[in-house]
Symmetry: C2
Subunit: 123 residues, 2 copies
DNA sequence: ACAAAAGTGATAATGAGTTATCATTATAAA
DNA sequence: TTTATAATGATAACTCATTATCACTTTTGT
């Protein structure tokens, strides 16, 4: 990640613009609108580089390979559309899970995923 | 899944006894204590059969292949130990996530995973 | 006890996702 | 501009979990 290229800029832009976790394939599809001919290998390479330099983070959801979003966002969770498969960012958090933690266990973090139909896929 | 074999009984017993989601490898390790020589293929075949007949369910957690637990439990979530990797069942649920759902989205379900150290791995 | 057929275990094959390779292209310092 | 070299794109290779194959074993109805 030393040189500035059209490909890397396109990939960074796509992550910023969509503002939701994107799969490598989603990044490819969107970034090809900016840089025709962009290859999937460059997407994987660049995403890894962005994560290494702290500009992006991997988002793991149940049953899916990692998606990637811009780093540095405040604490948030995700909505996974069961129809189109897109993942959206959610604000807010119930916050208190201590009542669920068994005696002797030491909680350090949590993840919440809501499932359902997104705005575009609602019944 | 038509005949009753030592292998199948051992696998069912392991799922019941441990009362937490187990990976196929964890099932194998535990069930080999009951049936030495048990093979991983039989574990995969039997888990699939148990799911098909509704006796077990797959539990998907972020970044991991499916684990399996006994079916029919009431609504619950899981604690994933960051040290030993074991997954434990939790009781309770905050329940109200509607305040997190954006306008126009239709929520249908949710998952919560707590991370931290389990009783055996606490600092 | 016997026979038909389902089940098992070892392991080869598969599939999805990701990474490595390498000839070519593009960047950027001089 | 020139030049050194990092980056790219096509695709081969790889990883890991899971499934298929098949010779042999076990179960179960008769």
């Amino acid at each position: 990640m030393e040189r500035s290229t059209r490909q890397r800029q396109a990939i960074r832009d796509v992550l910023s613009e969509q503002n939701r976790p994107l799969s490598p394939q989603e990044v490819l599809d969107a970034a090809q609108g900016k840089v025709p001919g962009l290859g999937i290998a460059t997407v994987y390479r660049t995403l890894k580089g962005l994560v290494d330099e702290g500009a992006a983070v991997a988002v793991e959801l149940p049953g899916n390979p990692p998606r990637y979003e811009v780093a540095g966002k405040k604490h948030h969770h995700h909505f996974h559309c069961t129809v189109c498969g897109k993942v959206f960012e959610l604000e807010g958090c119930p916050g208190d899970f201590l009542f669920m933690v068994p005696e002797g266990f030491q909680p350090q973090g949590h993840e919440i995923v809501l499932y359902g139909r997104c705005k575009d896929c609602r019944a």
